[in-house]
């Protein structure tokens, strides 16, 4: 029986146990007239359900975690001597074949005798493992059900038991977010350390050429050292910054003016339609922007440049930056809008009362008051621009050169992560591992920007609350 069907069975059992517990508690209540039950029937039902299912579920979890490993080791130990001593990839291939045979996937005619024997053995082990697991779970479930069934008494504090379990569940769910962060940091730091065992950190952080070459060979072989390329971060970082800068140059003025107009000037009706329409821009998938940049904006900019006598490549920092700027407009405008509306009305009234025009009030009173919040919004937008992937993958031209010319093709950190991990590189080669070093760099940069932005925005909120 597969784990999924076991889980489904457990759920069904839980539903039954719930009913059983409810019926029993009502029975107990009629047996003991005059005594008040501590909890409601649903709580007794829930308690019985939990007792029936939780222990069995834990066993299932532990089993699913360890059993495949144990079976593999046992099968490996049973292999003929010349195969049992294989290591690394060789062993992995052998075991893959055997487990495919055991799962009836393999073509039996091509299999050697010893493989068939091992597969048969593996099948047997798997079979007994599931039998054992099912038996164990059945025992635990029925024991839990029976024990909790007879525990139902008027004074049993069933509600407290159930609520405690629910609360533990809630806490577990809220730690998932923390675990994700821990997972991100640990996995990336781990792989980055492996990368730094090939390449000196200083060569990575301060290198000015990016030319990782290509590697399909395994780790630690002599051939690898000869084919090692240069992994300089700076060209990628400069490309990233260039694209993000162009995006901000496009998005900040537009986004700010949109926010100002919509919050200060626009009639309510216009605002109510224009605001959601502009925010549509934020919901469009980035791959769509990438395609738009590639087939429409890029050629347009090239033609436009030709008119002015400039050579603009169709896929360039400018193309990617402009389109990314469009994507960020609603991001800046809605954040700024929130902040501007938070500026107290009294400040505006004071300025207007002294005879300043509306624009003077906005420029000299409202904006200075909202400045910290706007800076926070811009920082958040910058972090998004730096971490954006699909637009630059399609439209930045993927040429890792150290250049400040926006009309040239560039490459960014995110593009390179995609290139290095989706190519045919061996996963353990520095060519692949560098993706994690780049990812960690990206994570740290965006984290710093986010934290700064959050602190600034929070400070600003406190000021007016």
């Amino acid at each position: 029986m597969s784990n999924i069907s076991l889980i489904v069975l457990l759920l069904a059992l839980m539903a039954i146990a719930y009913q059983v517990g409810m019926v029993r508690s009502r029975k107990v209540a009629t047996i003991n007239p005059g005594v008040r039950m501590h909890s409601r029937p649903q709580h007794y039902g829930m308690m019985v359900g939990l007792w029936a299912v939780l222990p069995a579920f834990f066993v299932l979890l532990i089993w699913a975690w360890f059993a495949p490993g144990v079976i593999n080791t046992m099968v490996q130990a049973s292999l003929p001597a010349e195969f049992a001593t294989l290591d690394g990839n060789g062993m992995r291939i052998v075991m893959r074949r055997i487990s495919n045979l055991a799962a009836n996937f393999g073509i039996v005619a091509d299999a050697a005798d010893w493989e068939l024997v091992a597969a048969e053995y593996m099948k047997q082990l798997q079979h007994s493992s599931t039998m054992l697991l099912t038996a164990l779970m059945a025992t635990l479930a029925s024991a839990g059900l029976v024990i909790s069934f007879y525990k139902i008494q008027p004074q049993l504090r069933a509600r407290h038991q159930v609520e405690r379990v629910v609360k533990v569940l809630l806490v577990l769910c809220s730690t998932v977010a923390v675990l994700t962060t821990v997972g991100i940091v640990l996995s990336m730091v781990g792989e980055t350390m492996k990368f730094f065992s090939f390449i000196k950190p200083s060569d990575f952080f301060f290198g000015t050429t990016w030319n990782p070459r290509f590697s399909t060979t395994g780790v630690g072989e002599g051939s690898l050292t000869g084919s090692q390329g240069s992994f300089g971060l700076l060209p990628l970082l400069s490309g990233t910054m260039l694209v993000a800068f162009i995006a901000l140059v496009v998005a900040i003025p537009l986004g700010l003016m949109v926010a100002i107009y919509l919050s200060e000037y626009a009639p309510a009706k216009f605002r109510a339609t224009a605001k959601p329409v502009i925010e549509v821009l934020a919901g469009i998938p980035t791959i769509v922007y990438g395609f738009f940049a590639l087939v429409t904006v890029g050629p347009f900019l090239t033609d436009f440049g030709a008119m002015l006598g400039l050579t603009i490549r169709a896929t360039s920092a400018l193309t990617a930056g402009v389109v990314m700027g469009i994507m960020i407009i609603p991001f800046i405008s809605s954040l700024t809008d929130d902040i501007i509306t938070q500026v107290p009305k009294t400040m505006r009234d004071g300025s207007l009362g002294l005879g300043a025009t509306k624009s003077e009030t906005i420029l000299k009173v409202v904006l200075p008051a909202a400045l910290p919040g706007i800076v926070g919004a811009v920082l958040l937008a910058a972090s998004r621009a730096i971490g954006e992937t699909m637009i630059v993958v399609l439209a930045a031209g993927n040429s890792p050169a150290l250049t400040a010319n926006p009309f040239e093709a560039v490459s960014t950190v995110t593009v390179t992560i995609v290139n290095q991990l989706t190519g045919d590189n061996d996963f353990a080669s520095p060519q692949s591992l560098v993706a994690f070093a780049l990812g960690l760099t990206l994570f740290v940069i965006t984290l710093l920007l986010n934290v700064m932005a959050l602190v600034i925005v929070r400070k600003y909120r406190e000021q007016y609350e």
């Binding site: 509600r159 609520e163 809630l170 769910c173 809220s174 998932v176 977010a177 994700t180 962060t181 997972g183 991100i184 996995s187 781990g190 003025p253 537009l254 700010l256 003016m257 949109v258 107009y261 329409v277 502009i278 549509v280 821009l281 469009i284 998938p285 980035t286 791959i287 769509v288 990438g290 395609f291 738009f292 590639l294 087939v295 469009i326 407009i329 609603p330 300025s351 002294l354 005879g355 300043a356 025009t357 509306k358 624009s359 003077e360 000299k364 972090s383 971490g387 954006e388 992937t389 699909m390 399609l394 995110t414 991990l421 989706t422 994690f436 990206l442 994570f443 965006t446 986010n450 959050l454």
Partner: protein
Amino acid sequence: MKVAEPLIKPVITAGTVQQKVTASLGRRHRKERVFKGFGLAAVLASLALVLILFVNIFSKGLPAFWQSAITLDIYFDPQVVKISEKPVQAANESDNAFRQRDIEWQTEVGFINFNRLITDSLEKVLPDATQHRRDLQRLVTSGERFALRDMVVQDTSIIGQTRTLHLLTDANIDVWLKGNIDRSLPDTMQQLSPKMREWVQQLSEQGLIQNRFSFALFMNADSRSSLASAGLAGAFMGSLYMMLVVIILAVPMGVAAAIYLEEFAPKNRFTDFVEVNINNLAAVPSIVFGLLGASVFIGWFNLPMSAPIVGGLVLSLMTLPTVIIATRSTLKAIPPSIRQAALGLGASKMQAIFHHVLPLAIPGILTGAILGVAQALGEAAPLLLIGMKSFVAAVPGSPFDQSTALPVQIFLWQGNELRNFFEARTSAAIIVLLALMISLNALAIWLRKKYEKRW
């Protein structure tokens, strides 16, 4: 305030102040108008950008929903389709043995030259083409012969009969007919030989080639050998499985986490830490989640590459903060009096929240969850890193099968060498993706409008 400063200089008398102000009024009002104009211009520019984006994509993509097809009377000639009897499971036969026989039979059917059926019937409508059967065969996209095979496999009684079918033309013919290639280009730069162009001309004059609604786009998986029949079904199912995983994992988990943080968590260091964490996680670039998926789910847990289950897990982690933040703000908006009333009547805290607060919060939670799912649906970058970029020619049957996703399919199609054909096809895929996202968003807005309560 700064503006007021010059006004209160004591040296100037009231009269001169008034003169100065009046003199400057024109300039100041002009400035005001210019500023307001800039604001309006910015808004209009942004609206125009939305419009340009949509018009651009739709004008490119809509034609691709119709595709040129040749109407042919296909005669399933028993001379060509020579196959043994379709196997029937005998009473004493095991399932496996039957399956083996069935597969052998299907392989036999696969060896039949279905192209001959197509060329035979093409010959009837193009009499001058008898000497160029090889070219003739290229009029119909190569995937259609498998469609014919499937028809035979499904129902062998079709042999000996004639069916009128609409067979998709080759992608290049579609491009030619839609005018997506410059017809004045010299022969050496054309994809179609002059002879084939002439045939296409004849066929369209006879009304045999027509633009028909492209079911292939929706029913087929991706294809590289038969470009005209490449479809979105595989990517769609992949996305669907991933969204299911997100709905099953991210939504309940996010809601539970939000309930704990908003209602139960004591104010201490740990809760603060969790909060900061969630806010940060919401702003981490999506590609970083892809790296996490590549190293943790595939590297440590040995989950299959390219499988929707892994994609779903990665997207779940990515959507989790969105759901948590949305749920928390909904919970925050529910007035404390509701909780107090429940508590006052003797409910436990858990009862107060699950029986009274949560039902009131459900519309808000649903809205947040739907927006989170829509965001996950459009995400491509993390999926590239967990192998969903690979070409998959089958519709996945389970979340553990290899598959791709809608946004990744867009990425793959935009890179296809046959740009003339796939630019439209990609735009069509984008339209499908946008339509899905817009309906999700509309659903969220409708829910909010319908159930929104102001306290």
